[in-house]
Amino acid sequence: MMARMLPWFAPRIALLPMALVALLGYLGAAGWTLWISLTGSRTFPSGGFIGLAQYRRLFDNERWLLSLHNLALYGVLFVLACVLLGFLLAVFIDQDVRGEGALRTIFLYPYAMSFVATGLVWQWLLTPGDGIDGAIRALGFPHFHLDWIVSQDMAIVAVVLATVWQASGLVMALVLAGLRGIDGEIWKAARLDGIPAWRVYLQIVVPMLWPTFATVLLLLATAVAKLYDAVVAMTQGGPGIASEVPAKFIMDHLFLRSNVGLASAGAVLLLLPVLALLAPYAYARSRGARREAA
């Protein structure tokens, strides 16, 4: 009896620690955050229940609203630019270029750097008077002007620029792996039919790569939601509050402004879009798995 039960038990026991960590560490912490967001906690997570007051306060706060707006703008620009650039780089490398290994390393290399280091480097590059601005002017274009990082409207785009530079290499690596998995017969068939390469990519290869793109989108979306360090390193949320993002709002209120309740409310709201993105993906995955099993 025991001998027969063992194969059933062993993997489950092995998985138990992981399951406990997931339950307590992730779900437990999320539940705790949700509870704190309904209290009037300040420095200590010990306030009494006050209902949705923290959420009401959040939406009466100009900086929070601007942060949400910035996050949406950043998210769209960052994801689009990363996917487009990463895909083009992958296609470029997929053309059997010489020195593929070296190029792949170069394109992927920025990903090995943290957002903090990336942010600092780009802050220097984008400082008006120095960096790119100064270099191009010194090359003989005295009217060239690049002041994104100190501009109210463009500061967040400057952050997009730096983070796209960092993350598009990862997209390239993932898409390239996907491209290598495409059956060579398809290309042969397309060539026989005289279909131009760009149409093969757009109408055959890209649809075949959808699981890769789903993974890419998921990775990029989480990077968007937790955007914090690049902003701190590049603009500190400035000029003024022009490049503030929700994660920075949360961190500031947790540690500097002693309002754990308001910070938790922000964190809960930040979790919602992530869940909204994650749920359809998980659903599609589970349906796919069931279809394969059937």
Binding site: R42, T43, F44, S46, R57, D60, N61, E62, R63, L66, S114, V116, L120, G129, V150, Q152, D229, V232, A233, Q236, G238, P239, G240, I241, A242, D252, H253, F255, L256, R257, S258, N259, L262
Partner: protein
């Protein structure tokens, strides 16, 4: 940068933990009173100042374990985390503000009422300081120093070049002086475009233009009607008008770089706390000779004060209690106060302190402090950290964008409503 600071503070925290676990800390009641002190006085002048305190504490027979953590935010976060975690330091620095009010309300600090009674703090400390450290009739912090945040520093050479004969006494005269500086081709107002520096400009305008009454109604009482009044709107407009006197390179600039512009005579005026004086003296300049210091516009202008305190987290270990008692007593000694504040650039907390050893600017400040009608606290003294932060967010957004004054009024009302 944040990450690096965090790692550094963790490492320092580790050093502190290791130090407090060293043999000798728990030997018995006859051992030396060992005090582990968390503070953020890490810059040159600051660390020289706190070394004076540490020296005096050792002279008094105690053992000082220094846990310096760069950055006030980081330092306070470490203190709070250690208090929550049940391993509090013997003493920790905070600003004279509401930063430690929550810790008091959780009953996690030891009061220092004995010392306060013996030293007659009710009488000799300025009221805004008492307001911040006395809660529910008990004193919970030992004040170290007083900083005045809104000094008007000006370059004598720049004033001469612009043909400004006398120091401005009203807001109109200040704007007139700025106009003349501009006409002379100088940077009229040296400003570092960071949120907290913009808050200083705003506080200066509010205090000098709105006067003590409007200042306290807005900042202390958070009076919605006062915030929406036409008088307050004029203050906001005057604050924004200052921006027309700032050079385009100001966004993100550090305060000491702005001071350097005044020192070099390239800019006329900077509005900054008394810590800026250290930059002038380090450059070999003297008050009244190369630069001037104005504590405010007119003889009755409010004097916006703030400072640093030590708090003593609750403990029932007798040796820790002894260390806390000894330290509270040592830091309030007149000689320690004098040595610390001269190096720090601030002034002593007691209104009866000896002023002969201080420079002309500090003496001006000490004289004003004795006039009970003039000192008021800076925003942090009256507002919780998150109210203060929300106010700063609005002020910096208003300064940096084309936001109309009416909307700024509404946003400030929202920021201070909670």
């Amino acid at each position: 940068m944040y990450g690096i600071r965090k790692i550094a503070s963790c490492m320092l925290l580790g050093v502190g933990l290791w130090a407090s676990a060293m043999p000798g800390a728990h030997v018995g009641p006859q051992a030396v009173a060992q005090a582990e002190v968390i503070h953020w006085w890490t810059s040159g002048g600051e660390s020289a100042a706190i070394k004076q305190v540490a020296h005096a504490y050792r002279q008094a027979g105690g053992a000082w374990v220094d846990s310096a953590i760069a950055g006030g935010d980081q330092s306070r976060a470490v203190t709070v985390n250690r208090i929550i975690g049940g391993d509090p330091p013997t003493a920790a620095q905070f600003n004279t503000s509401k930063q430690f009010l929550d810790i008091i309300e959780e009953d996690m600090l030891n009061p220092v009422d004995d010392l306060a009674r013996r030293e007659d703090w009710d009488r000799v400390l300025p009221q805004p300081i008492v307001d911040a450290i006395k809660v529910g009739g008990h004193y919970y912090a030992v004040p170290m120093n007083i900083h005045m945040q809104t000094w008007i520093w000006y370059s004598k050479a720049a004033f001469e070049r612009a043909g400004i004969a006398r120091e401005p006494q009203t807001m109109d005269e200040l704007f007139a002086a700025l106009d003349r500086l501009k006409a002379a081709g100088l940077i009229p107002l040296a400003h570092g475009g960071q949120g907290w520096q913009e808050t200083i400009l705003f506080s200066m305008v509010l205090a000098n233009m709105g006067g003590r009454e409007l200042y306290l109604r807005v900042i202390r009482d958070r009076d919605q009607q006062a915030i929406r009044s036409p008088q307050f709107r004029q203050v906001l407009q005057a604050y924004k008008r200052l921006k027309t006197y700032v050079d385009p390179a100001s966004p993100g600039r550090n305060w000491n770089d702005a001071t350097a512009l005044v020192i070099a005579g390239r800019a006329g005026i900077q509005i900054m706390g008394d810590w800026a004086k250290g930059e002038f003296t380090a450059a070999g300049q003297q008050p009244g000779r190369e630069f001037g210091c104005l504590p405010g516009l007119g003889a009755n202008s409010p004097y916006l004060i703030q400072g640093d305190v030590f708090v003593f987290p609750k403990t029932d270990r007798p040796e820790a209690l002894r260390a806390q008692k000894l330290m509270a007593e040592v830091v309030e000694r007149p000689a320690v106060q004098l040595a610390f504040n001269q190096l720090k650039g601030s002034i002593p907390v007691r209104t009866d302190a000896d002023e002969s050893a201080f420079d002309a600017c500090a003496r001006k400040g000490m004289a004003i402090l004795r006039d009970r009608a003039r000192p008021v606290g800076v925003a942090e003294v009256y507002l919780t950290p998150d109210q203060n932060g929300a106010l700063q967010d609005v002020l910096t957004a208003y300064w940096n964008t084309a936001m109309p004054a009416e909307r700024a009024q509404g946003s400030i009302a929202s920021a201070l409503r909670y």
